[in-house]
């Protein structure tokens, strides 16, 4: 699968650069230094750096000569002085970095010298669209800004094609960088049941119930087992990459869809109520039924969802797969179209909406709230194996898993708090909010 459109050269793979890049404390450095000089006395500062740190020869650039700056900056044998700015990007050999910093501190004509950081402007993130939902309120919060910066780097680097250790979905949502596991958080998956003998899930099922007449909770379909795997598959699966988001969460299984994949609203309501009664903090529902453009959400589901929220349960549901992009975009299915249920759309590996993913055509709850990996998603299959499936059904359990991580990190948070954290933590994408809501799901 193709990577994102970003030029990977910017990410440290400079075969012609002996320095390479430097990673530290989650920040990526170029190996160069940005030096700010006292206005009017740039020469003293440069001379100090030349003599003490043996910096590369200096090319001077003025504003009107910008055309070849990029090329100059790429050259390891050239430092670039921006005369009008009184600033330089300085090339220095690794063993001279300490000397450069010491010299800069001692030299009165140098105001500051900092390692140059990697900053990425990618087609995914630039131009920065006006973020939706809660994001603006967090602009002054350093931690959140840092989080977004990390997310920006992840997004700019493009989705991983290497799934040796982690599925591309877990990498895209940064679950591979999170130390949270969802420990002690209960997640209910309302679906076709579960393969109770799957080696990756044995011992992980806290409770289960079937609301399908005449069928046990055992998954004769595969849909439920796949979704459960994505929500809470183990840290060390029997085979292949890790694919589960909340690897220590406690799993509640409500079977409301038959082995043939069908179920009624009544069975689903029963499963939801069972989950709430069992203390589920998250309900994941990879199910839905088509609605027409303009159709109102089902108010009975909305009432139930409101009451569940009051009891501390967040409900996420699949936006549905009825679209055929381009150009046909179908509205978010029910019950995901309820205002109190989070609707999840699906992204491809390129972090663009999957062709089948429904959009926010209808108002009043019919919006997409958040987007998550939903294409070629590997997870558990009945019989002890694995399979890759696509759909908003696969995107939804990623969100449920992240909610469990948030619940673990914030044990006293209300359901409303968790929803807000989820939405504000999403990474804004340039695609329309109609298709991706607040953006790409991100693990805390």
């Amino acid at each position: 699968m193709a990577n994102g459109p970003m030029d990977r050269r910017a990410f440290g793979e400079h075969p012609d650069r002996p320095n390479g890049t430097v990673m530290g404390q989650g920040t990526e450095y170029t190996g160069r230094y940005v030096v700010l000089f006292e206005p009017g006395d740039q020469e003293s500062g440069l001379n100090a750096l030349r003599s003490s740190a043996d910096i590369a020869s200096v090319e001077r650039v003025r504003g009107t000569e910008a055309a070849n700056v990029a090329e100059l900056l790429e050259r390891p044998d050239v430092s670039v002085l921006f005369e009008e700015l009184g600033a330089a990007v300085v090339e220095v050999r690794p063993e001279q970095r300490h000397a450069l910093v010491t010299s800069a501190e001692a030299e009165s004509s140098i105001i500051a010298a900092e390692p140059e950081r990697m900053v990425y402007a990618s087609p995914i993130t630039a131009p920065q669209q006006a973020p939706t939902e809660f994001f603006p309120a967090y602009r002054s919060d350093e931690e959140v800004v840092a989080h977004h910066t990390m997310a920006e780097i992840a997004a700019a680097q493009g989705p991983a094609s290497d799934e040796e250790h982690w599925t591309w979905g877990l990498q895209a949502i940064r679950a591979n960088l999170s130390s949270l596991t969802g420990r002690d958080v209960k997640i209910a998956v309302i679906d076709t049941g579960v393969d109770t003998d799957h080696p990756d899930l044995v011992g992980r099922i806290e409770a289960s119930a079937s609301f399908v007449p005449g069928e046990a909770v055992e998954d004769g379909n595969g849909h439920g087992t796949h979704c459960i795997g994505t929500v809470a598959g183990p840290a060390n699966p029997r085979q292949g990459p890790r694919y589960g988001v909340a690897c220590d969460a406690r799993i509640l299984v409500a079977k409301v869809l038959s082995n043939a994949g069908s179920g009624t609203d009544g069975q689903i309501l029963a499963g939801m109520a069972w989950a709430v009664a069992h203390g589920a903090q998250v309900i994941s529902m990879s199910l839905g039924a088509r609605v027409r453009p303009g159709e109102l959400f089902p108010q009975t589901y909305e009432k139930l969802a409101q009451r569940a929220l009051e009891r501390g349960t967040v409900i996420v549901a699949a936006a549905g797969n009825d679209s055929h992009r381009p150009p046909e975009i179908r509205p978010v299915s029910r019950p995901a179209n309820c205002p109190s249920i989070l609707a999840v759309s699906a992204l491809d590996k390129a972090l663009t909406p999957s062709f089948f993913s429904n959009g926010g055509i209808n108002g009043q709850g019919g919006e997409v709230n958040i987007a998550a990996p939903g294409r070629d998603v590997r997870s558990a299959a009945p019989g002890g194996g694995y399979q890759s499936l696509s759909g908003t059904s696969m995107a939804t359990p990623h969100v449920a898993g992240v909610l469990a991580l948030l619940a673990q990190a914030n044990p006293h948070a209300s359901a409303a708090d968790l929803k807000e954290s989820l939405m504000s933590g999403a990474f804004p994408l340039t695609q329309p909010a109609r298709d991706v809501g607040s953006g790409l799901l991100q693990a805390p």
């Binding site: 009544g266 689903i268 109520a273 990879s286 039924a289 009975t300 059904s393 696969m394």
Partner: protein, 82 residues
Amino acid sequence: MSESAQPAPVGIILAVDPDRFAEVVEALRRAGLTVTGEQPALGTLSGSVAEDRIPTLETIDGVESLDRERTLQLPPPDSPIQ
């Protein structure tokens, strides 16, 4: 199908006032609802009723919503899109 003139029952789901759940459900039964499932803690229930009785059910005090029940169907398990 039934030979009577009665319309075939249709499935519905309802939300009612959870604080007087039993009382409202009893009124719904008297108005013709056959209850197939109930969730008292969250104040919802499902059932079937003759279609022409639906307007009557909607007017019962304590009934907050009434939706026609639908059946959801997943794609076949071998479909690449789920």
